[in-house]
């Protein structure tokens, strides 16, 4: 009994820590989910946190970040992170109508509603899929190969992305062979390289004279910060009164649907659900506010479902979120691993029961809501003002470069660092010119690790 109490308290403490940390990170625009969630979750895993605590840290962090990312998105008109890019159009309309606080309130209320719905549904879908788990595990290398080609085809690059998978996978296999010669086995470095690829490419571009001229600016960038408007009383406004019944219904529906479609990219689902809902509502203001509510709800539900379903049902990272930001829940050598040859897994999948996933999942979501929701409701303006006036972009970039250096050196010394830079530059250029996006790149990594050995075995 004492063990259980300890486990619950640790889960609560790590959930709180994740929620507070990622509420702060969400305020800084440009802090992509993968770049921040993946390394910090990895750290929590490697420092030996109990399984339940790892889950609550990750989920509370993701849910909190997708609430506070509404602050730069609604008040400054810059996307808080990658999934917020799908909301920027709606948010800008509301900002220019002079009601950014409405955008903010609707977004975080939609997020809260969707997050609460997504956990039980994700667990339910996972339980339904679990019987197929053994078959999928057996054919894991081929499932990943098919998933990689499917995700590539549905990226912006279409066939270019599908074909670009070949050289990309080849480079990863080549790099692994090279580092193996020196006894170095890398995993996190590939993830981090893919996640910071656009930054690394930008920094390289700055050194090339022609590109540098293109990037030159002759004045400071102007941001218009929306004024502070508080239209509610108290500290914790009821989310169900901030959004009306129809908006609650639409958000719940969108959250339910996207809790099942776990193989598609969260950004794509956010855009698609917004279009589907928007088409059903005629009046423009109602449409705008309902779509933004539901869309932010989808950023929450996709993250929760895409992490939980593959984790509970298969233990294999078979979704864009599981392959990227949630990767350390599946694969964090030496503690967690996915065996390449047999499809055997040793990670949270084996360490937590379905009921524990449900219980700790709900705990994480509620902790995140209790921390991030009132904070965003009450201090959004001050937070946006502080971040935009005091945290320079130089400092943000420098922090990420520091992260690259530490993680690279930690995992593989100089070789680790070189792999991050190589993958970052290649991935960034392919992403920029071909639309070979980050989700495809993560699948490329898994293809290299899981499918290529199986292919070679088959050919021999």
């Amino acid at each position: 009994m004492e063990g259980l109490l300890y486990e619950i308290l640790m889960a609560l403490a790590l959930g709180l820590f994740g929620a507070v940390l990622f509420s702060a990170i969400g305020l800084v625009s440009g802090t992509d989910e993968t770049t921040t969630l993946a390394p910090l979750t990895m750290l929590v895993v490697l420092l030996g946190a109990p399984p339940a605590g790892i889950l609550t840290f990750f989920l509370a962090g993701a849910v909190a970040k997708h609430m506070t990312h509404a602050v730069p998105t609604a008040l400054l008109g810059i996307p808080g992170d990658t999934s917020a890019t799908a909301l920027i159009g709606d948010a800008n309309h509301l900002r220019r109508l002079g009601v950014p606080h409405v955008a903010l309130r609707k977004m975080i209320s939609g997020g809260a509603v969707a997050a609460v719905i997504a956990v039980p549904l994700a667990v339910l879908f996972a339980v339904l899929l679990a019987p197929f788990g053994d078959v999928i595990k057996q054919f894991a290398p081929w499932v990943f190969l098919c998933a990689a080609f499917t995700i590539a085809y549905f990226s912006a690059g279409r066939w270019a992305s599908v074909l670009a998978l070949l050289p990309f996978v080849l480079v990863i296999v080549a790099l692994q062979t090279l580092t193996a010669q020196y006894g170095v086995k890398l995993a996190v470095s590939y993830f981090l390289g893919i996640a910071v690829a656009p930054l690394i490419t930008s920094l390289f571009s700055m050194l090339a004279p022609a590109e540098r001229e293109r990037m030159r600016r002759d004045q400071y960038r102007v941001f218009s910060l929306a004024p502070d408007m508080k239209g509610w009383r108290g500290y914790f406004p009821n989310p169900l009164r901030v959004i009306n019944k129809r908006q609650t219904r639409m958000t719940a529906m969108a959250a339910s649907v996207t809790s099942a479609t776990f193989v598609f990219s969260p950004v794509a689902m956010t855009v698609i659900m917004g279009e589907l809902i928007g088409a059903r509502i005629k009046q423009a203001y109602e449409r705008l506010t309902t779509v933004i509510t539901a869309r932010n709800g989808v950023t929450e539900s996709t993250y929760i479902a895409e992490a939980l379903i593959p984790l509970i049902a298969f233990g294999l990272p078979l979704s864009p979120v599981a392959a990227g930001p949630a990767a350390p829940l599946f694969n964090a050598p030496p503690r967690f691993s996915v065996d390449t040859a047999t499809g055997e897994v040793n990670n949270l999948h084996n360490l937590l029961s379905n009921w524990e996933f449900f219980g700790y999942g709900m705990m994480a979501v509620l902790v995140a809501i209790v921390i991030a929701y009132p904070f965003t409701m009450n201090f959004a303006h001050q937070a946006a003002s502080f971040v935009s006036r005091s945290i320079s972009h130089e400092a943000v970039i420098a922090t990420f470069i520091g992260l690259v250096l530490v993680v690279g050196i930690w995992e593989g010394g100089l070789l680790g660092l070189l792999v991050i830079v190589t993958i970052g530059l290649l991935g960034g250029l392919l992403g920029r010119f071909l639309g070979f996006n980050i989700g495809v790149q993560f699948m490329g990594y898994y293809t290299a690790v899981l499918s290529v050995p199986a292919l070679i075995a088959l050919l021999n």
Binding site: L40, G48, S202, K282, A284, H393, A398, L405
Partner: protein
Amino acid sequence: MSQELARPAATPPSADAARNTDNLYEVWGDTVDARHLVLAIIVSAIVSLGAYGLALWILDGLVESAQMAKAYAMLFGILGCLGGGAISAMLFKPKRDVVEHVADPAFREQVVADLLKEYGSLGRLEESSPEVLAELHELGLYELFRDAQARQPGAEAGVDSRDSLALSGGRS
């Protein structure tokens, strides 16, 4: 309760003499000064790797498992990244002009025109629930949509909506 929406917009502060705009570049979605960026990266590299190396050196003797010593050292390394970032934030100020203003009515008319273009129709207020109408009244937007709706059948919306797209930033 109707909220004040038409306060005059503050003009962006004009470039003061101390401001050097020779080295401004747009990197990863925002403006930086190239010299400051190089210095910030150097500071962050020294602080983060310094914290990692120092922690590794100290912990190696204290912690039994070398693997755990390395994991804890990474924790200090990541704290070092944040420390380096904080020092950079103190040393180098943002290259942003933050302007606080409320959208003026002309702007709002344009948003309605943009919405008409994007959605094809503004719909009818009569179709919305009382809750939505109460919200519009409270925000002082009811008249805006009512008038636009009245003009709708023959309304001309030749306004370019490109600038609202451009606001999404140049992040790749």
